[in-house]
Amino acid sequence: MIFLDNVWKRFGRIYAVQGVSLEVNEGEVFGYLGPNGAGKTTTIRIISTLLKPDEGYVEVGGISALEMPEKVREIIGVLPENVNLYENLTGEENLLFFAKVFNLPKSVAEERIREYLEFFGLENRKNDLVGKYSKGMKKRLALARAMLHNPRVLLLDEPTSGLSPEVALEVENLIKRLSERENITIFLSTHNLDLAERLCDRIGIIINGKLVLVEETRKVETFTSEVIIKIRQKARNYENILEKWSYQIVENHIILKVVNYGEEVPKIIKDLVQNGAEILEVYPKRETLWDVYMRVIRGG
C-alpha cells in the first residue's frame, strides 16, 4: 500500500532521509520509530506529498506520489504532529470545510461529520470554536478530519505527543478502534515505544535518516543468550561454579550469558543447588522493544 524506494531528502547540508526503502502492506499498522530529528516527520511529509524527495520513488495505493500527488491525496488522511485546524471556525465548520474540499455530497458529508463527531466524542462541542478546544480535543477533531473521506491510508505523525497520559490513551484506543473497524493501512510515527508495541504489526527504526531495522513487532521481543536465575540463598563458592561464564549479580538475580541454553543451564543449576543455593526461578532473558530500540540507536 505504501512503497518507498531509495528515498533521499536533504535540507541545506543536512540529509533528513537517506536512501529509505520500505513497503507497508494493506491493512497493516506500521510503527515508524526513531529519536527526535531522525527523519520520521520528513518521511511522512514525503509520503503525504507535502515534500518532494530529492531522489527515489514513492507510491501510495499503487499511485506515484511524484507524478500524481493530487490522486494520492484523495486516498490518504494525515494527522500532523502539531494539529492546527482553523481556530476561528467551530469543530463542525472545520469538518464541513474539508468535506467540501473533497466534494463529498452534502448528505454524505453531514452523515459522516455526525458519525465521526460521535465516534470521537465531540458531538457536544461541535459548535464551539476550535480555538477553545483542549489539545486532546483538537487531536480527536484532527483524526476525525483525516478520516472524513474514508481514506485507505492514514498517516499519523506522533499522534500522542504533547498529550496527558489519559488523553494519549484515549487517542491510542481510537486509533486501535479505527484499525479494527476499517481495513485501513496506518503509518504511525512515534517515539512512544509502548504505543508502538501495543498498536503496530511491524515497526521500523530510523536513525539519522537511515532506516536501520524493519521487523514484526511480535518478533522483536526475542530470547537473548542470557538467563536469569533468581535465588534466595547464594551457593558456597559460587564464583568457582560460574567462573566459566560471563555473569553479573544484581540483588538476588544472577544474570548469566550462555551459549547453549539446553545443555549449560541445567548443569549450572545442579552445581549451584549442590553447593547450597536456594533457587526460586530460572528464566531466559527477553529483549523487549525498548532494549532493541536502545541497542539500535546506540549503534548495536
Binding site: G62, Y86, L89, E93, F97, K100, L155
Partner: protein
C-alpha cells in the same frame, strides 16, 4: 481503484466561501467597519458643524467625499490580504490543508478572491455613501463617479496582489502585515515624494497612480507644475490616466503571478 471526480471549480468556491467566512468572523472586520463609519460620518459632521458650504459643482464635491479611498484600500489589503498566505505556514494550518486533493492554485485563487470581495464590500459602501450624498445635494451623479469606482477597484486588485506577494515571501504573519502596511502607507509615498523633488515623475510607483481615483473628477490642465520657493525649485506631478491604469494592471498581474508561483513551490519545512 475507482477515483471520485473532484471538481476544481467547486473546490475554488469552497475555499472562497470559507475564507470569506473566516474574514467575517475576525476582529479586523469590526475595526475596518469602525474606520469606514468614521470616514463616512466625520467629514460630513465637521462640515455641518462648521457651516462649510458645499461647492456648486458636484465634481468638486465628490473628491472630498472620497478623500480616504486610498487609505481604505490600503487598510483593506493589510487586514484581509497581508497574512492570507503566510498564516498557512506560520500557524501550520497548511499541514492540514495541503495534503488534501486541492491544488495550490485553487487555494490561492480562492483566498485572493475572498480578500478582493471583502475589501470591495468596504470600498462599495464608501462609494455608495458618496453617491447618495451627491445625489441628495445635487440631484445628479456625474459619470466620472463610475470611472473613479473602476479605478478604485483596479487599484484594489493591484494593492491586494502586492499584499499577496509580501504574504507569500515572508515567514511571519505580523511582519508580512506590517511590511504591507508600511510599504503602501509610508515607503512608497516617501519614495514618490523624493523622486518628485528630484524632478523625476514617479509614474511607476503604485501609490502615486492612486491619485487618478479622485483626479478623474477635475483633471489638471498641466501634469507638471514647477514651483520656486526661496531659491529652491519644486515639481508637483499629476499622474497620467492611461499610464496609471497600465501600471496598476502591471502591478496586479506581476505580483499575482510571482506570489502564486512562490506559494505553489514553497515547501513546509519547519
Amino acid at each position: 481503484m475507482k477515483m471520485r471526480h473532484i471538481s476544481a471549480f467547486k473546490q475554488f468556491l469552497t475555499v472562497t466561501y470559507f475564507e470569506l467566512y473566516r474574514h467575517l468572523v475576525r476582529k479586523r472586520v469590526y475595526i475596518m467597519t469602525i474606520i469606514l463609519a468614521l470616514v463616512i460620518v466625520l467629514p460630513t459632521t465637521v462640515k455641518i458643524l462648521l457651516n462649510v458650504p458645499n461647492p456648486e459643482d458636484p465634481k468638486e464635491f465628490i473628491p472630498g467625499e472620497l478623500g480616504f479611498i486610498d487609505i481604505l484600500i490600503i487598510l483593506g489589503a493589510t487586514f484581509f490580504a497581508g497574512d492570507s498566505i503566510v498564516s498557512e505556514y506560520e500557524k501550520r494550518t497548511g499541514y492540514v490543508l495541503f495534503p488534501n486533493p486541492v491544488k495550490r492554485e485553487i487555494i490561492y485563487f480562492g483566498k485572493i478572491v475572498a480578500s478582493l470581495i471583502i475589501t470591495t464590500i468596504f470600498i462599495l459602501v464608501y462609494y455608495v455613501s458618496a453617491f447618495i450624498k451627491t445625489i441628495y445635494y445635487y440631484n445628479t451623479l456625474p459619470y466620472e463617479a463610475w470611472v473613479s469606482l473602476g479605478y478604485a477597484l483596479l487599484y484594489t486588485l493591484a494593492v491586494i496582489g502586492f499584499a499577496y506577494l509580501i504574504s507569500s515571501i515572508f515567514k511571519g504573519t505580523l511582519s508580512a502585515t506590517l511590511v504591507t502596511f508600511f510599504m503602501l502607507f509610508m515607503i512608497f509615498p516617501i519614495f514618490s515624494n523624493i523622486l518628485s523633488l528630484s524632478a523625476i515623475e514617479p509614474w511607476f510607483i503604485l501609490t502615486y497612480t492612486a491619485d487618478i481615483i479622485t483626479l478623474v473628477f477635475n483633471p489638471p490642465a498641466e501634469r507638471v507644475v514647477k514651483m520656486e520657493v526661496s531659491g529652491f525649485t519644486f515639481y508637483i506631478f499629476y499622474p497620467d490616466f492611461t499610464t496609471s491604469v497600465l501600471v496598476m494592471l502591471a502591478y496586479a498581474i506581476v505580483t499575482i503571478l510571482i506570489s502564486l508561483l512562490w506559494f505553489k513551490f514553497k515547501e513546509l519545512k519547519e
